[in-house]
Amino acid sequence: MTHQQNPLQSINDVHTHFRYWSENWAKIGWLGLKNNPVFMLKQLKKYPWLNSLMKANELLNMYTGTRKGLYKKANSIAVSSLVSSIVDMVDGIYNHADKLILHEDLVPPEILYGMGLQPWMAEFLGIVIPFLDTEVMERYIDRAENEGIPADICSLPKSTMGLALSNEMPKPRAIVASNMPCDGGMTSYTLIQKKLQAPIFRLDIPYNFYNEKAIQYFVGELRKLIKWLEEHTPGKMDWDRMKEICEERNRMVELQLEIWELAKMKPSPMAGEAMYLPGMLYGIALPGQKRGTNAMKKILNIAKKMYEDNQSAVPDEKYRVILWNPPTLIFPDLFVWAEQKYGVAMLMDMLSFNRHPLIDTSSHDNILRGLAQIIMQGPMARHTRGPAENFFSDIFYLHEAYDIDMIWMAGHIGCKNTQALMGMFREKCRDRNLPLLNINYDLSDSRIVPPANIKKQVDEFMETVMQA
């Protein structure tokens, strides 16, 4: 973490900080008390990554220390969502071990919730831990490489495999994976399944998904998944619960869409982590939860208030940016820094943006159809396996809709799929006279490119191309 220097805070800001700081600690403390403190202490030894998760409240300082007023509050809510999601995830492991389903990030968890199962997104740790403890994942990456995993595959599946190989992954009842988003991710589940000795189901997501045949095929795959889970786990599909989960998800997404609309204003009344953290957590990892809807509602109300008061989220907004590819895990406060130094407002990111965000809950078939479209035409699957046009059409739509000044591409060197698109991407940006910053770095391994070098790349770009 590269904490920024905190400016003087008003009494209201101090109150906001203390309120969320104490609420977050209360959630973490509740987790310890509920599951027996002695047991939890033993678990800290068994699963060393729990130590990193317990530091989640440090993000409050990182993400809100330099921010003020309502914008500070919105980002405090974003951090609070992260703390809640960690607590929910860890609590689920201990209290629903018999229903624990380890799943890949392109598997709809709504189905697992609908069946009364406990989802555990395998990549969750690989994503969240570097945010909290940049160097911790290096041990797991090395473990995977030392066991023969090629060094040049994405460090996220390597982290996940390293956790399994280090016997630090709780044993699930079953595993659900897919053929997305990349070869490394797909292959990692063969190793994880072998190590954890749990039955596995692999969803086959069609490559060419813009036709009815593909949608129907994937709906069929989801039906097969439900049947398989009913045979291999205690889960039983409860369509009423499933409908409820999907409707809760829709409620959250509708609020998120309103925030997106407000963010189109110049200057934007919302930006930064408040724009992507809750959506990423409650849209991808833990969908259909009231916590997600509540967080989104609070952020929307703040955005509305700021808009009405003619306030911009980033004081003196100078540049509007979209971030493509997953956020820079090893430099989680990149946009806090960029905001302070250059007046950069980050308005949208790849993982949040989904063209088919809502689910029609009028019938079982429509629910599955909606989930199929969210996965097939949503982030990652749509961008890394589909035709290149998917990647470009989203970016250039966002360029116009948000009137952005530049694109920041988190050019994760382990992502062969997006690296392969870079040549075409550069050409298309050039044609549109749209400045493109390609940040060379590795998603989870700060030894490849440390945060200081990322800053250097940004500085060079801002000075040279943006004349900042």
Binding site: R426, R430, N433, P435, L436, E460, E463, T464, V465
Partner: protein, 267 residues
């Protein structure tokens, strides 16, 4: 008293200085080998240029001075410093406003720079992590042949065929060249192979910014005629020579920006 504006480009291999007068005419230039201390390099090269201007006797008499190059942050006497990418773009645009692509091959890195019509940087790409394809690589190769860069350039132009150098790394390339010499390959043909290996690396980098005409080469390696000829073949685009020493383009750009900044401040 007449006003003078200077640019000081402190590179890893050489220090360069350019002094402009109020009309924008170049009054003096200087190039020296870089010293260990970048500040010392800056002082020495500036004084060498100042000695060529009658009205000037010390650095403080310059109206505005901009530092650039890798050692730019170590020039305490500069009014400000600006990245060498911006300075190369400004310098090339000043000499030829039709330039749209620059390949700057310096001592320790290679950059490809795409320019807008107004001379501002549109995009850039750089290789700063590998010595292969840089001036340092040529120095190493010249050492093997025990000749100067000028002679090496001439040597490559006299080749009858090109012996390919397959190693991407400069250390391995050195071993490969020594092996080729011991196999009695003709030095001229090996030299042509070295030029080709660098040109291919430049090609990869230049493609990132788009090869838009007119293209020029700056930096110390712009003096390597053999490389320029090879680049023309590999890039399949004409390389426009500038009416100014390519090695001095960064310092010239810094001087041009110094003059512009001075005007801005005055107004």
């Amino acid at each position: 008293m007449a006003r003078y504006f200077a640019g000081c480009d402190i590179g890893s291999t050489t220090g360069k200085a350019v002094i402009l007068d109020e009309s924008g005419s170049v009054k003096a230039t200087a190039i020296i080998k870089s010293k260990i201390d970048p500040c010392e390099t800056g002082k020495t090269v500036l004084m060498k240029a100042i000695d060529k201007v009658k009205e000037l006797s010390e650095i403080e008499e310059l109206t505005y001075l901009i530092g650039t190059g890798y050692g730019r942050n170590e020039v305490p006497f500069a009014n400000t410093n600006i990245s060498e990418i911006t300075c190369h773009a400004t310098g090339a645009h000043f000499v030829n406003p039709n330039i749209r692509t620059i390949i700057d091959i310096g001592g320790q890195d290679v950059k490809a720079i795409g320019l807008q019509e107004n001379g501002k940087v549109r995009e850039f790409a750089m290789n700063e992590k590998c010595a292969a394809g840089t001036g340092r690589f040529f120095e190493m190769m010249c050492n093997i042949f025990d000749i100067s860069l000028t002679d090496f350039s001439e040597l490559s132009l006299n080749s009858t065929k090109t012996v390919p150098i397959t190693s991407q790394c400069s250390v391995f390339a050195e071993s490969e060249v020594i092996t080729l010499i011991s196999k009695r390959e003709q030095p001229a043909d090996i030299a042509a192979g070295i030029q080709l290996s660098v040109a291919k690396r430049v090609f990869t980098l230049a493609r990132k910014v788009g090869l838009q005409p007119k293209l020029t080469v700056t930096g110390g390696c712009s003096r390597n005629a053999g490389l320029i000829e090879t680049l023309k073949k590999v890039l399949r685009i004409d390389i426009v020579p500038l009416d100014f020493d390519g090695q001095l383009i960064g310092a010239l750009g810094a001087a041009v920006l110094a003059k512009q900044n001075s005007v801005k401040i005055a107004s």
